[in-house]
């Protein structure tokens, strides 16, 4: 210590700060390493599939790798999108009811029920969807095809076991519904009292208050929740979704991996790589949506 700096106390290194900073740096690096390892592994195993004769990739003898993977990739994104489309409005409405409209005691009871449902592994809801929902939905499809068959979209033969992308989306929607609702409830519950009162004091009705204070505040949280909930649910659900013709990447891998060998395994890995890339892209998109109005998020 020099004489000039004599009066300035040396910054003290506290053990707690040191441990915390090391642990968080380590955790951060670990996540990056795991991600990189997955990427490297998938890429390494995928490469052969990109260069091999496409006809050998799968028993269906596709004309090119992309012809093989594109329908699956589309199925994945489409099923996830439909599932969100179905479950998000429900989740939001139920969460709004519980946090904003229900009397306090009822809200508490509902809160517990939702949390319990959310704690049930989504596989269970997925199983229910496959065992109960899929077969019983066939008559509906038949009816749609009969009644609306003149619209090209609804024409054509009905899948006998009801295992279509729509069913997949419905099952997926049911799987994510409880956890989505629980997360929305949590997000809405965090709305600052200050903003709720600001809206009410301006003469907002309850619904107007929800629109001006609760929903805008909850938007980034809901987008994040949707992303979080969807990724693992996707993989688990479609692993269960046994069918003669799998229509998503995860289902395809789960169904065909045990019986595959050689280049077919590489093809499955390559489709996994595509799923990985899709997941990252979707997450980036979500982040961008949240960021776009960061200045308006109130997080300052």
């Amino acid at each position: 210590m020099t004489a000039a700096a004599g009066n300035i106390p040396k910054p003290k290194r506290r053990l707690g700060d040191l441990v915390f900073s090391r642990v968080s740096v380590f955790a951060g690096i670990l996540i990056l390493v795991v991600l990189a390892a997955v990427a490297v592994f998938l890429t390494a195993y995928s490469l052969p599939a990109f260069f091999a004769d496409p006809k050998t990739l799968s028993s269906s003898q596709p004309t090119s790798f992309w012809a093989y993977v594109a329908p699956l990739a589309f199925g994945t994104v489409w099923a996830a999108f439909l599932a969100l489309l179905i479950s998000l409005p429900f989740s939001i409405l139920v969460a709004l009811f519980v946090t904003q409209y229900a009397p306090r005691r009822l809200a508490t009871i509902f809160g517990y029920i939702i949390d319990i449902l959310a704690a049930v592994p989504s596989v269970v809801f997925g199983l229910w969807g496959i065992v109960v929902l899929a077969p019983s939905i066939v008559p509906v499809y038949t009816w749609i095809s009969d009644a609306l068959g003149w619209i090209p979209l609804f024409s054509g033969p009905v899948a006998a076991d009801g295992r279509t992308i729509l069913t997949a989306a419905i099952v997926l929607a049911i799987m994510i519904l409880p956890i989505m609702t629980a997360m929305c409830r949590e997000v809405f519950d965090q709305t600052p009292r200050l903003h709720i009162e600001a809206a009410l004091a301006l003469g907002a009705t309850r619904w107007e208050m929800v629109k001006t204070a609760v929903l805008p505040f909850g938007r980034p949280g809901i987008i994040a929740a949707a992303m979080l909930v969807l990724s693992p649910a996707q993989v688990i659900s479609f692993a269960l979704f046994h069918s003669e013709n799998p229509n998503t990447i995860a289902a395809n891998i789960a169904l065909n991996y045990p019986e595959s060998s050689g280049i077919q395994v590489n093809a499955l890995m390559a489709s996994g790589l595509i799923l990985f890339v899709i997941t990252i892209l979707v997450n980036m998109l979500a982040r961008w949506i949240v960021r776009r109005r960061a200045a308006f998020s109130g997080a300052n």
């Binding site: 809206a199 308006f296 109130g298």
Partner: protein, 259 residues
């Protein structure tokens, strides 16, 4: 526009806890009334009954009457939403809507209840409200910037602009300057003098100088002890309260001999 408020035999509860007991108070239009008193004596609680925002807290209720130009705000069939459109409120912490721009914040109250407003009317209203809140010159070039990006004092004036944009009869302010620096505080005090030409203003403050500077009437609330209800001890001209109050309790409080 400006309306008279009368509280008659007002008891205010949080569940079974009686927080404020038997308030009788006659608040004149076009005046500023200050509410002072020690922490926890029920100033905010009383203020929040004047626009019926008290009752959004589960279990909170009121008995007695609050008359706005003779009409009981707590009468049967009175819609609290409509009450709140007539009686605006500015809070202790500035609370512009974070997801809205400055302009949207000013118009937030006006657009409620599916009211349609033409673009040019909206622009005029934004300008006149912001001018009314002494904020126009500072923000006129960035009306589309987020309201939360302003300084604390500016945010508070934005909240005032938002409140007066709906043209209420009464403006309630709960310690509106307690989070602000002295300059912003003076700006808001000046603003209150302007506003009182058109509105009845009731302000809660811990700052005695502020109460004596800005208000026409002052009400002193006190509490006998924790768990006991707050009472309105004395209510008179500000000059009288701060020079020769009738009650010894008031005298003690304003001269700092409280506690």
């Amino acid at each position: 526009m400006s309306k008279r408020i009368e509280a008659i035999g007002l008891n205010i509860y949080y569940g079974s806890f009686l927080a404020v007991e038997n308030v009788n108070m006659d608040i004149k239009p076009r005046s500023i009334t200050a509410l002072i008193g020690p922490s926890g004596c029920g100033k905010s609680t009383f203020l929040r009954t004047l626009n019926r925002i008290h009752e959004i807290i589960p279990g909170a209720r009121v008995d007695g009457k609050v008359l706005l130009d003779g009409d009981d705000l707590y009468g049967p069939g009175v819609d609290p939403v409509l009450v709140r459109r007539q009686v605006g409120m500015v809070f202790q912490r500035p609370n512009p809507f974070p997801t809205m721009s400055i302009k949207e914040n000013v118009l937030a109250g006006v657009k409620l209840n599916n009211k349609r407003i033409s673009r040019s009317d909206a622009d005029d209203l934004v300008e006149s409200s912001l001018r009314g809140a002494n904020l126009w010159n500072e923000v006129k070039d960035r009306l589309d910037a987020p309201g939360a990006g302003l300084s604390g004092g500016q945010q508070q004036r934005l909240c005032i602009a938002r409140t007066i944009a709906v043209k209420p009869d009464v403006v309630l302010m709960d310690e509106p300057c307690s989070a602000l620096d002295p300059i912003s505080t003076l700006a808001i005090e000046d603003l209150m003098q302007e506003l009182k030409k058109e509105y009845t203003i009731v302000i809660v403050t811990h700052n005695m100088q502020q109460a004596s500077r800005v208000s026409d009437m002052t009400g002193f609330f006190n509490i006998a002890g924790t768990g006991k209800p707050g009472h309105l001890i004395e209510y008179a001209d500000t000059a009288k309260i701060f020079s020769n109050p009738d009650k010894a309790e008031t005298e003690d409080y304003i001269s700092g001999r409280f506690g």
